[in-house]
Symmetry: C2
Subunit: 265 residues, 2 copies
């Protein structure tokens, strides 16, 4: 028995989220089914974090325990051959037995992708959010800076969340703009349910003049949900990277995975 | 009554090709339906060329005759609002009455997009072809150069084509490579049915060592279909540009259209 960790890309439009659910196609279920058919045994796959229906991943991390003579490269290759379309294991390596994809994660980086073309883009409609009102990126950058730091993000978590503490540290919020598209990149040590999408929804409200950058301060101070913009749609969101206290996947890669297909230069 | 020409992008995976067919979603049908619902009259839309099921466009050109007080910009905006998802009018302008999108076209440029990642990319599966064998791009460039010029392309046209002459001029065939992706760009004064996909299939055969670059010369000389590779799948093909003897669409654009969403840098 050995512990293996994997870096996974997936097209969230094809799955009802990460977590296995009876009767719905999930990413966890797809990988577990692939392992079951490959190794003829039941394996539980532990992801670094759940993603909701429609949310994509360019660098989800998961670990699982397997008993096989296949080396890492062959295991990755065979497993990919057993996976349904829309999910791929980009990297895979045997790791220390006590590695845990979720508990060992120090931070996560998300990317949120927005098109600001005048007309709805014919391509990628499930892979970016489209906003057709003018946005003031400098106002959004002002608001983004106010989100950085250790704060009580209660206002940015959706009601019904069962987490006890709502304090999180956001290391950075960046806006990368390119012509009629931009991406919001958020890195934090943890996120409340829908927190990234609520942060993006707030930035979009600020950008179109519905809210002031100072509303971010008020939201963080008061914890009031109504200081925050609407939850931005799932289709724009990508789990881009999970970071650990140790470097992962330093071996030869065998070519970029699925991310490259969408984000090639 | 005025004549209007339009530049159109569409996601071919959502349509059964350009040409209107009863009972199937077509791009021509979508635009004609949009015009019918906007202007309450039947309008025929004439495209520069038909594209098959699954083939995309970044710059299809079409013309039609309308009787409306809407100026060009308002007409484009209103028409886009009446179009189904997956097709967008990027540019639109009133033109000389006798402009004809098909008969006036001097040449067309197609783009064929291939991913060469080791594993099937989870994104864009209907928007690029995936090849997971090593390809020798220099051999492919050698073969590509042999396709350029005025030749009898009978071997590259699929059987059943009713065109009389099979002589066409190909102005250029370029391979643009970027890491694990490349695009073949082909420009010509006209193309036989499936000619671009057969050219790409031949290049891929050469790249993987199944054929020699010299086979292109033999195919052009002999006209024998078995000198040519298999038809490459529709999903990788984009009608990128239609070129005329006059510059089209020189006015303000109002933002890049759908192409930018897929090919942003």
């Amino acid at each position: 028995m050995r512990t293996v960790r994997a870096r996974i890309s997936y097209d969230g439009s094809r799955f009802h989220g990460w977590q296995r659910q009876d009767g719905f196609a999930s990413v966890q279920g797809a990988i577990e089914d692939g392992l079951a058919s490959l190794l003829d045994t039941l394996v539980t796959v532990h992801g670094a974090g759940r993603t909701d229906t429609g949310v994509h991943a360019l660098g989800q991390v998961a670990h699982f325990h397997v008993d096989t003579r296949l080396d890492d490269d062959r295991l990755r290759h065979a497993l990919n051959a057993h996976l349904t379309d829309g999910v791929v294991i980009d990297r895979l390596e045997t790791c220390r037995d006590d590695f845990h994809a979720r508990f060992d994660a120090r931070s996560k980086r998300y990317l949120y992708r927005v098109a600001t073309t005048r007309f709805r883009p014919p391509f990628l409609r499930h892979h970016q959010h489209w906003v057709n009102v003018p946005l003031d990126l400098e106002r959004m950058r002002d608001a983004a800076r106010r989100m950085v730091g250790r704060h009580d993000f209660a206002a940015f978590g959706n009601a019904g969340s069962e987490r006890k503490s709502t304090v999180r540290t956001v290391m950075g919020v960046r806006l990368l703009a390119h012509r009629r598209h931009f991406a919001v990149v958020v890195q934090g040590d943890g996120f409340l349910y829908n927190m990234v999408r609520n942060m993006v929804g707030t930035l979009l409200d600020v950008g179109r003049g519905r809210r002031e950058p100072e509303d971010v301060d008020l939201a963080l101070q008061s914890g009031e949900r109504d200081r925050v913009g609407p939850t931005a749609p799932a289709c724009g969101l990508y789990l881009a990277r999970v970071l650990y206290g140790e470097p992962l996947f330093r071996g030869p890669c065998g070519g970029p995975g699925g991310a490259a297909g969408l984000f090639q230069g």
